[in-house]
């Protein structure tokens, strides 16, 4: 499994999750977990996704999600899970 963490931060509007999920489905990226919270009035969503069957490499997905974020007016980041594991797990 190639786990990545996708985060969406911005002002809450209708359809953010739908747009992101549609993109992921189109590219065969499987969502394992979704959670969300509000920090300082900003909508924060985190998805844990499995990219092992993804049709595109992570660098391309990162660029695509960047652009999608710009369209919706939020910031979307896609990062490999290891950076969080290394920082927060012994």
């Amino acid at each position: 499994m190639k786990k990545t963490i996708i985060t969406v931060v911005g002002k809450d509007t209708v359809g953010i999750i739908a747009r992101v999920c549609t993109y992921l489905a189109e590219n065969k990226i499987n969502i394992l977990d979704i959670s969300q919270t509000i920090v300082d009035d900003y909508f924060n969503m985190m998805m844990i996704a499995d990219m092992s069957k993804s049709v595109k490499p992570i660098s391309e997905v990162t660029d695509d999600l960047d652009r999608l974020g710009e369209e919706i007016g939020v910031i979307i980041k896609c990062q490999r899970e290891e950076i969080f594991n290394s920082m927060h797990r012994l």
Binding site: I5, T7, V9, D33, S35, Q36, T37, V39, N44, M46, I48, I58, S59, T62, K77, C78, Q79, R80, E81, E82, I83, F84, N85, S86, M87, H88, R89
Partner: protein
């Protein structure tokens, strides 16, 4: 599984608190390039660097993108050129030719600094060492981003005062040759006591002769992250303070370790060390001085500064060594002046003097760093400053260094502008009393005794 608050914490460190991997430095041994013919030597050096480092920048950028962590610099360190060029170089000009080859190779692979235009003369100088020293001013003036370092002393050998005296002149000459740009040549020149073989940070990086053919060393950073973590424990006691720094240093170092391993795997080059340094930049919030203020000082330089810095440095190491199996390089808090807005503010406020900085270097990495001094400072005075700083390293069995910039045509009250990561600096006053007779004695200061510690 990772939870959302952990993800938010990491991304906040990166986006708001300037967490980054400061440098991936590829160490390249040039020992197998040695040749008695200068032309062939230059050709071999160029080929080795451009082959070994051809994927360095692209790999760094790919890792940066996939993990979402900025890797600010991709750099190269090479075997000290005095050793590599010894058989081929007959004049300082011959060494300058090698410097130009290094700069060309660096440019062609796209890295932003190359270190190792160096000589190791802690006990004595070979003819080649002296030729290289004499060539430094021109080498730095005529190349763009080649860095030079000279190891002038060590705990085991004492201090080579002949070389210290020469370096006073060399620093002045380097300043003169680059006077059009606030003597910026001196920002690429550092002298050491106990120089480490695996330092990834410039200007002092070189690839020691004890190292493998190729090696990846990584320098992490994160003063802003430590500062922010400490904001949450204001007024708490030292135990809480230290625990907070340690935990933060652990997290920062783990990111460096991850990047180092990933780069090593992708490039097929062994991983050397992670350098656990708190390296500031001129960016607001990326300051070691600000951490000292957060610990409880009005300005860096106030009474208590040395103790606060000692505590900070020690906790960074304690957290860091748990996070990485191979720690090396300089590993400690850097206290450059021009590269740290908080330090600049402290100097401007009159809180921080050269003498206090010298005291601070006793307890942290690495020395008198990026300090602009009046352009009319005498060469012997610079040698005296160097000797003082090296003595601290020699006696305390630590690395110390001096990177001072006598800015030609400027004096106290003026400011020097170096640009980019090198920042800007107010010219600091230097004690004007003479040390000529001391510096001109010639010879060596013997190695210190290793017993009867007081």
């Amino acid at each position: 599984m990772i939870n959302i608050s952990e993800v938010i914490e990491t991304n906040k460190m990166i986006e708001k608190e300037n967490l980054d991997v400061r440098t991936i430095t590829l160490g390249i041994s040039l020992l197998d390039c040695i040749d008695s013919d200068l032309g062939r030597l230059n050709e071999k050096i160029y080929n080795k660097i451009t082959t070994a480092a051809k994927d360095l920048v692209a790999t760094g950028s790919a890792i940066e993108k996939e993990f979402g962590i900025p890797i600010v610099n991709k750099r190269i360190s090479v075997t000290p050129i005095a050793i590599v060029g010894g058989a081929a170089c007959r004049t300082p000009d011959d060494f300058v030719a090698i410097a130009k080859t290094l700069d060309k190779a660096r440019k062609d692979v796209g890295v932003n600094f190359l270190g190792g235009y160096s000589a190791l003369v802690s006990k004595g100088m070979t003819r080649a060492d002296e030729l290289l020293l004499r060539s430094i001013p021109r080498a730095l003036a005529e190349t763009e981003l080649v860095c030079s370092s000279v190891n002038l002393g060590s705990t085991k050998t004492g201090i080579n005062m002949d070389a210290v005296r020469i370096m006073g002149d060399i620093i002045k000459e380097t300043a003169e040759l680059t006077k059009e740009n606030d003597s910026i040549g001196c920002s690429k020149l550092v002298v050491f006591c106990n120089a480490p073989d695996d330092n990834p940070f410039m200007a002092g990086a070189f690839h020691g002769v004890t190292e493998a053919d190729l090696i990846i060393n990584v320098g992490v950073s994160g003063p802003g992250v430590v500062k922010t973590a400490l904001e949450n424990v204001r007024g708490e006691n030292f135990e809480v303070l230290c625990e907070t720094i340690k935990k933060t240093a652990f997290k920062v170092t783990r990111v460096g370790q991850l990047v180092a391993q990933e780069a090593s795997k992708r490039l097929g080059i062994p991983f050397g060390i992670v350098d656990l340094s708190l390296a500031p930049t001129p960016a607001i919030g990326d300051s070691v001085a600000d951490i000292l203020c957060e610990i409880g000082l009005e300005h860096a330089g106030a009474p208590g500064t040395t103790a606060a810095l000692a505590l900070l440095n020690d906790q960074v190491k304690k957290g860091g060594v748990m996070a990485s199996s191979y720690v090396g390089g300089l590993s400690g808090a850097f206290i450059p002046v021009s590269e740290d807005q908080g330090m600049i503010d402290a100097v401007n406020a009159g809180a921080l003097t050269l003498e206090k900085l010298e005291a601070m270097t006793c307890v942290c990495s690495v020395g008198l760093d990026m300090i602009a001094i009046p352009g009319d400072t005498k060469a012997t005075t610079i040698s005296g400053i160097i000797a003082d700083e090296l003595a601290i390293g020699m006696v305390n069995q630590k690395t110390t260094a001096v990177r001072v910039i006598p800015v030609v045509g400027k004096t106290v009250g003026d400011s020097a502008e170096f640009g980019g990561l090198l920042g800007h600096a107010p010219i600091m006053p230097v004690n004007g009393f003479s040390c000529d007779a001391f510096v001109n004695r010639g010879g060596r200061i013997p190695a210190p005794i290793h017993s009867f510690k007081n």
